[in-house]
């Protein structure tokens, strides 16, 4: 047996948290975050591969492959099937519960248990590194996923969001539904699933994070042995192809009718300054979230005015999503009058531009962010999920909190000046169709 890799320990004295990390020879990154006193043990095994990775050059090939929309999510479903049956049963025998999720950029497999952690961890590594697709099991999955997609289509909040991204982006695959469409998934084949799997499910493109009251060194040793015995070689040549997204939005306005209680209005603003990575990307995200909170949060003048006018209700919110290849702001919620709300939001932003942001209010809001970022360490699920997603964006979760105080007035001011511009915006509106009243007997 070869000597195992060295462990690197990082700690945060104020937070009183510590992380043990190890980088394997095959490029896989392992982390263990001990949580003393917790009963639950939680682990994620995550690949940097999501719905936007639909164009790529497979290893050893020279041509770009284009796979059907929704295939990353389809693949996630199919990983739970093995020659001997369902992976759920293997976890169930140990009392663990397993699950997985796919988003635009990552696919994550996870389990939660209270006992027999090592055995569960072995199963997690084993099943994620062991694909088994047949024509029959691929065909069978189509009916299940079709029902999943139909379920989302009946959710007004999902529809207004989907429509907004379709309006904001001309070609970037973030405009497409993560799970694809009922039509696109029909085209998925076993061979395509293997192509995607062989390209993206390599340890050099993956991270494993375990959180709970576990022995860090023993856990790292176990994970290292299990992963290295299956995939010892390094393979770091994933070539993803993203289309060149033009700066302009595709459509200024998307409207649709469906059963919903009230009109729903989403304003989207495309941030065209993409290409950022790591701390630069995440600091920009924090700065934008602080700005959005100052503009639209419960403590803002604008929120108070809009709420009192009855233009918004408790459903209103705003947020920013940023990755290296796309970024956008979304603000909105239910409203009786979408046009009036749109006008008032822009007035609020313009007024803010004239008035600027004051040091005192920024400090107050940063205090809130600092407290809330610290409070999240009470959840083992949060730690594991946030860790893997931040890791792929080039930031260590333990350092995340300390980026908040670094955000200055200039950062916030620049975003206010440059990003929140009407010419970069699109709106999406859901209008209620006639049918669909609450039956209260």
């Amino acid at each position: 047996m070869k000597a195992l890799k060295e462990t690197i320990i990082q700690s945060h004295t104020v937070l009183d948290e510590k992380v043990y990390g190890r980088r394997l020879e095959n490029g896989c990154q392992l982390f263990v975050w001990p949580k003393r006193g917790f009963t639950k043990k939680f682990a994620v095994f995550s690949t940097h591969y999501g719905s936007i990775d639909s164009h790529f050059i497979p290893p050893g090939a020279s041509e770009v492959v284009h796979v059907p929309d929704g295939i990353a999510h389809f693949l996630e479903h199919k990983m739970f099937e093995e020659e001997e049956g369902s992976v759920f049963d293997r976890f169930a025998r140990l009392g663990a519960s397993a699950n997985a999720y796919t988003n635009y950029t990552n696919t994550t497999y996870l389990f939660s248990c209270t006992d027999r952690f090592e055995e569960n961890l072995r199963i997690l590594i084993d099943f994620v590194l062991h694909p088994y697709f047949t024509d029959e099991n691929v065909e069978k999955e189509k009916g299940i996923i079709a029902q999943e997609l139909q379920m989302y289509r009946d959710m007004p909040d999902q529809r207004v969001y989907r429509n907004l991204l379709e309006a904001l982006y001309q070609v970037h695959p973030v405009r497409l539904e993560i799970g694809g469409t009922v039509e696109s998934i029909q085209k998925i084949t076993k061979e395509q699933l293997y192509t995607c799997y062989n390209t993206f499910y390599h340890p050099s493109n993956m991270v494993l994070v375990a959180v709970g009251d576990v022995d860090p060194e023993a856990t790292l040793d176990l994970a290292e042995q299990e992963i290295m015995s299956r995939r010892p070689e390094f393979k770091g040549d994933i070539r993803r192809v993203y289309p060149d997204e033009p700066p302009a939005v595709k459509e200024k306005r998307r409207e649709e009718r469906m059963p919903a209680a009230h009109p729903i209005f989403y304003l989207g603003i495309k941030d065209v300054e993409t290409g950022k990575k790591g701390e630069e990307l995440v600091r920009r995200e924090i700065a934008m979230d602080l700005l959005l909170h100052l503009l639209f949060g419960r403590s803002s003048d604008l929120f108070a005015a809009l709420y009192e006018e009855g233009l918004i209700n408790d459903d209103f919110g705003a947020g920013y999503a940023a990755t290296p290849s796309y970024a956008h702001v979304i603000a909105g919620g239910e409203t009786p009058d979408p046009s009036r709300l749109e006008e008032r939001i822009w007035q609020g932003i313009e007024e803010r531009r004239r008035r600027g942001v004051e040091a005192e209010e920024l400090e107050r809001v940063k205090r809130r962010f600092l407290g809330q970022a610290s409070a999240q360490f009470d959840s083992v699920e949060f730690i594991a999920n946030a860790f893997s997603s931040l890791y792929f964006r080039g930031v260590h979760l333990l350092s995340y909190r300390d980026l908040i105080p670094e955000v200055g007035l200039d950062d916030v001011g620049e975003l206010l000046e440059k990003v929140l511009r009407p010419e970069m915006a699109a709106v999406s509106i859901i209008w209620p169709s006639g049918n669909g009243k609450v039956d209260q007997g």
Binding site: V14, S97, Q147, A260, R298, Y307, N313, R367, R368, S374
Partner: protein, 433 residues
């Protein structure tokens, strides 16, 4: 002060006011929830409106904005107030939660400041003149409540579940939605609502929960000083009991049509077994084998084998002694799905389940129960369930009871589970969503 077998430090703070403190270094946050137990009834709409208006402003922080700014100063302290439904209890709650001072380099006053904020919202609402909420706040919040009730149809899965219970438990308070009724909103006045708030505050039994790195004695003193509870006239907790069926009740089918892509099928069952019942552990295992997990019969048969649905599950309503099975399907597959769902319940009654299925359900239930200790919210919710059912039954006790359940116990329970109502939310025949 005494330790209950539940692990909470329990203290009677006065007649009808009980405090449960869970002191632990495991968490970096302190969570406090004050719960008023009001019977679910005709006044549900007014009751639902109370916490909304409370969150609009207090004597010292007279607007939502002022409250929000105060929360920001207190390092993003969460402040919430709402109503929830637990059996026939309409719970009005106010909660605060936030980071413990030392993790953000704050002074030790933070916890006391958080409790003060809670007391402000619960005991010192913004009052106009004497005995009246702010007229504008009341008008605006009535409007928001109307929108919240109307919005229920946006979430089909939850809406369907409510509609099933409503059809199933006609005439029982449990059929009332936690937000009340649209047609009751109009007549609510700022004065009447304040009177209602006063009554709830003065008369309801109260449960207080504190979870986090605290000294129980210190928290008790702080709460005693900050919370001006009235000394008498408080009711004691009301007794729960299972939902009893209508006489000669044959299973009823209710079909509702909306423009939907996915149809939702719900089967409502009476079990006659509530959380406090000796047979409840057997019932939990029953539902575990039938449909509570992805290794249960419903998931495997309806989803994995028949490819009919993305979700298919069973779920207990422990306070009422009810069970629901549900799945989301193409409308054309109604008969097939219904037969398959019912067949699983029938198989259970015939004892057709293996030792492996039983072991898997037991292990999964055990994991779920033990995981409760890792979440302040889950700890409080679980204890509340016990309080409302007059039997705390902490997770460890439940785990021990599960270990004693035999196959015969499960079959016995299975044979008394009775189908009451089928509810199907679907689109018009031939209709397109």
């Amino acid at each position: 002060m005494h330790m209950e077998e539940s692990g909470f430090v329990v203290q009677e703070m006065g007649p009808g006011v009980t405090m449960y403190v869970w002191p632990t270094r495991q968490f970096k946050t302190v969570s406090t929830r004050v719960v008023l137990h009001h019977p679910l009834g005709e006044d549900a709409t007014e009751t639902a409106l109370v916490p909304q208006v409370l969150l609009r402003g207090s004597a010292r922080y007279p607007t939502t904005q002022a409250l929000a700014r105060r929360r920001e100063e207190l390092f993003g302290t969460e402040l919430g107030a709402d109503v929830s439904k637990l059996g026939r209890d309409h719970l009005v709650w106010v909660g605060v939660g936030g980071i413990s001072p030392r993790f953000v380099g704050a002074g030790s006053r933070l916890l006391r400041d958080q409790l003060e904020l809670l007391a402000e919202v619960l005991f010192h609402p913004r009052e106009v003149g004497s005995g009246r909420f702010d007229e504008e706040y009341t008008r605006q919040e009535k409007n928001v409540l109307r929108q919240k009730i109307e919005r229920l149809i946006n979430e089909k899965r939850r809406y369907g579940m409510f509609r099933l219970y409503q059809e199933m438990c006609q005439g029982d308070p449990f059929a009332i939605h936690r937000l009340g009724r649209l047609d009751r909103i109009e007549s609510i006045t700022a004065e009447g609502l304040f009177q209602h708030y006063r009554e709830i505050l003065a008369e309801s039994p109260v449960s207080i929960f504190v979870v986090g790195p605290v000294d129980p004695q210190e928290v008790q003193t702080a709460i005693q000083n900050l919370f001006p509870w009235s000394k008498e006239g408080r009711q004691s907790l009301f007794a729960a009991g299972p939902y009893t069926p209508k006489p000669n009740g044959k299973p009823r089918t209710v079909r509702e049509e909306q423009e939907v892509n996915q149809a939702l099928l719900y089967l409502g069952y009476r079990t006659g077994i509530t959380f406090a019942d000796e047979r409840y552990p057997a019932l939990s295992l029953y539902s575990g084998i039938l449909g509570a997990f992805p290794h249960s019969k419903l998931f495997i048969q309806v989803r994995e084998k028949a490819s009919l649905a993305y979700f298919a599950f069973s779920q207990l309503e422990p306070t009422m002694g009810l069970m629901v099975t549900s799945c989301g399907i193409d409308p054309a597959n109604y008969e097939r799905a219904l037969d398959l769902m019912r067949a699983q319940v029938e198989a259970m009654a015939r004892g057709e389940f293996s030792d492996e299925e039983m072991a898997a359900a037991r292990a999964s239930l055990r994991t779920g129960l033990r995981s409760i200790y890792d979440s302040p919210d889950a700890l409080v919710d679980r204890t509340l369930l016990g309080v409302v059912n007059r039997r705390l039954r902490p997770p460890e006790e439940m785990i021990a009871a599960l270990d004693r359940v035999t196959k015969d116990d499960i079959v016995e329970v299975a044979q008394q589970v009775e189908l009451d109502t089928i509810y199907f939310l679907t689109r018009r025949e031939g209709g397109q969503a």
